[in-house]
C-alpha cells in the first residue's frame, strides 16, 4: 500500500480527481440505501477502502472508473457481510445479485459549473470566518501558507490548521449527494446570472 508516493503521484491524482471523485456522492447514496443499520458497515470506511484499492491499480486498467467504483464498493460490502455472523445469508446473496446498472450506474448528471460554484460559496459561508479567509487566500489568490500567515497576522502552523479544517468541512459537505440539492431538468435560466 505504499503506492501513494511513487513517481507518477501527481498524474495519478489528477486522473483520480477527474475520473473517480465525481462519482463518490452517487456511490455513497447507493451504499447508504443498502448498508444502513448493518453492523460493521460504515459508508466512510467503505469509500476509504474502495479508494485505496482503486489507487493501487493502474488507471489504464480501469476502463470505466464510475462502474469500477460501484463494483469495488459492492465487493467490499459483500466481504464485510460474509465476515459478519449476524447477517442472514440471503442478504449476502441478494447483494451479490444486485443489478447496479439499473440503479444509478448510468443514471447520473454532472453538476454544472454554476452549481458547483454555488455549492462552494455556500460551504465557504458556513465555515468559521478565519477558515474561510485562509481558504480564499490559498485557493483564490494562490498564496503560500507563509504569505497567508503574514496577511492574517497568525502563525504558519495556525494557517495549516485553518486550511485543514476548511478541507475537512468541504470533505463532509461533498459526501451529500449532488442530486439532493439540484433540481432535475433545470432550465437555462436557473443557472444563469445577469451579465454586465
Amino acid at each position: 500500500m505504499m503506492a501513494s508516493l511513487c513517481m507518477d503521484h501527481h498524474a495519478r491524482l489528477r486522473w483520480f480527481t477527474r475520473e473517480v471523485l465525481p462519482h463518490e456522492a452517487d456511490v455513497r447514496r447507493w451504499l447508504g440505501r443498502r448498508v444502513r443499520g448493518l453492523e460493521g458497515c460504515d459508508v466512510d470506511e467503505i469509500i476509504q477502502e474502495a479508494y485505496a484499492r482503486i489507487w493501487t491499480l493502474a488507471p489504464e486498467d480501469i476502463q470505466n472508473p464510475r462502474a469500477y467504483l460501484f463494483v469495488v464498493a459492492r465487493h467490499i460490502v459483500g466481504q464485510i457481510l460474509r465476515r459478519s455472523r449476524v447477517v442472514a445469508i440471503d442478504l449476502v446473496a441478494d447483494l451479490e445479485t444486485l443489478n447496479i446498472v439499473d440503479e444509478g450506474l448510468d443514471a447520473y448528471r454532472i453538476l454544472s459549473g454554476k452549481e458547483e460554484l454555488d455549492r462552494l460559496y455556500a460551504i465557504l459561508d458556513e465555515m468559521p470566518e478565519r477558515c474561510s479567509q485562509a481558504f480564499r487566500l490559498k485557493k483564490f489568490e494562490h498564496l503560500s501558507q507563509r504569505e497567508i500567515a503574514d496577511r492574517m497576522g497568525i502563525a504558519e502552523s495556525t494557517v495549516e490548521k485553518h486550511l485543514s479544517k476548511a478541507l475537512r468541512i468541504v470533505s463532509e459537505k461533498m459526501k451529500v449527494a449532488s442530486h439532493l440539492d439540484v433540481k432535475d431538468g433545470v432550465d437555462r435560466d436557473d443557472k444563469s446570472w445577469k451579465w454586465g
Partner: protein
C-alpha cells in the same frame, strides 16, 4: 481490513488524512514528516484511501474556483488574455454557438436555405466554411468582399468557419451579432430569445439588449439575450456537447424533464408527441434518440414510466397505462 475493531473510525481517519493532504500540497515533506506519513499510510488501507480522497478533494477545488469568472484575482492583469482584439484568437479555434430566437420575420430570399423538421443538412460554402442546419431552420448567406455574413432567420445552425481575418465571419440572429474568427459554432432561435453557446475558442457578441459594446464569449460559456436582459452562464463541456448533439443527428437527454425532452423532440418531427399525464411531464428522462424518431421517443417514455402510446396518426399520445396497478 475494514472491520471496525481496528482503532479509529472512518471520521477520525479523515481528520488525519486531511491534515496530511494540506501539508503535502504545500510542498515537499521534511524527512521526518515523510516517514511519519508513510508509517501512517502503512497502518491501514483506509488511511491510504482517506489520504487519496483528501488530496483529490483539495485538487478538485482548484478546478471549481477556476470556474468563477469573477474571481480570478490570481493572475496579474498583464498575464490575462487580451480580450480587446478577438482577431488574436484566429488560430483555428473551434467554436460552437447556439442561438435560440423566435422572430422569424421578413423574407429576403437571396441565398436563403431552409430545412424541414427532422432534416439536418450540411452546406459547404465557397470560402471553405461549413454550415450544418438543424431541422426547421432557415439561414441566408450574404457574402461580400469585406465580410462573410450569415443571417439566421429561425431555428438553429452550426458554423465551422474557415480562417480569414481579412473577412470576418458574422452570424446575425435576431439583431444579435455573433462574430467568429477561425471557428466552429452553432446558432439557433426560439421563443423571443437568442442564446449563444461556445464549444471551443472565442466569439465576439454585439447588439445584446442592455449591454453596450462588444462582449467576448469563451469555451463552454453561454450567452442568452432575452427580453428580460442579457446574461451569461458557464456550462460543462458535457452539457455543451449534449446541446450540439443534433449535428450528429442525435438528441441526448441526461435527466431533463420529460416535458423538456418532448419539446426538443417535437422540434424535429411532423408528428408531435403529446404527454397526456401531468405527473409524467416532470419525470426525468435519459436516453439517446435519432432526430426525427418520435415513435422511438414515445416508446422509450412508455417503457420507462409504465405508460402506453396511442398512435392518433397526427400525434402520438402518451398516457399512463390504464391497467397499471397503483403503487
Amino acid at each position: 481490513m475494514i472491520v471496525t475493531t481496528s482503532p479509529g473510525n472512518g471520521a477520525d481517519i479523515e481528520g488525519v488524512a486531511t491534515a496530511w493532504a494540506i501539508r503535502v500540497a504545500e510542498g515537499p515533506l521534511a524527512h521526518a514528516d515523510k516517514q511519519a506519513l508513510d508509517a501512517w499510510l502503512a497502518e491501514d488501507s483506509r488511511h491510504l484511501g482517506a489520504f487519496v480522497r483528501a488530496q483529490a478533494l483539495w485538487l478538485d477545488l482548484d478546478r471549481v474556483v477556476a470556474l468563477d469568472p469573477l474571481a480570478a484575482p490570481a493572475v496579474p492583469d498583464r498575464a490575462r488574455p487580451r480580450i480587446t482584439h478577438p482577431l488574436r484568437y484566429a488560430v483555428a479555434a473551434s467554436i460552437a454557438v447556439l442561438v435560440l430566437c423566435a422572430s422569424i420575420a421578413y423574407n429576403q430570399l437571396a441565398g436563403r436555405v431552409s430545412t424541414s423538421r427532422g432534416e439536418v443538412r450540411t452546406l459547404a460554402l465557397d470560402d471553405g466554411s461549413i454550415v450544418t442546419m438543424n431541422g426547421g431552420s432557415t439561414v441566408q448567406v450574404r457574402y461580400d468582399g469585406n465580410a462573410r455574413r450569415i443571417v439566421l432567420r429561425g431555428g438553429e445552425a452550426s458554423f465551422k468557419v474557415a480562417h480569414n481575418p481579412a473577412r470576418p465571419f458574422i452570424v446575425d440572429a435576431g439583431g444579435l451579432e455573433v462574430r467568429a474568427v477561425g471557428t466552429e459554432f452553432v446558432v439557433g432561435m426560439d421563443k423571443g430569445q437568442v442564446a449563444v453557446t461556445v464549444e471551443e475558442g472565442v466569439v465576439a457578441i454585439d447588439g445584446a439588449k442592455g449591454a453596450a459594446g462588444e462582449r467576448l464569449l469563451h469555451r463552454n460559456e453561454q450567452f442568452v439575450d432575452a427580453s428580460t436582459g442579457a446574461r451569461k452562464a458557464v456550462l460543462t463541456s458535457r452539457e455543451v456537447q449534449r446541446m450540439a448533439s443534433w449535428r450528429q443527428g442525435l438528441l441526448i437527454f441526461e435527466g431533463q424533464t420529460v416535458g423538456a425532452a418532448v419539446e426538443m423532440v417535437n422540434r424535429h418531427t411532423e408528428i408531435p408527441v403529446i404527454i397526456d399525464d401531468p405527473t409524467l411531464v416532470h419525470a426525468e428522462f435519459m436516453g439517446v434518440l435519432k432526430i426525427g424518431d418520435a415513435h422511438a421517443f414515445a416508446d422509450a417514455i412508455a417503457q420507462a414510466f409504465n405508460a402506453e402510446v396511442i398512435d392518433e396518426k397526427t400525434q402520438l399520445r402518451v398516457i399512463r397505462k390504464r391497467t397499471a396497478p397503483s403503487h
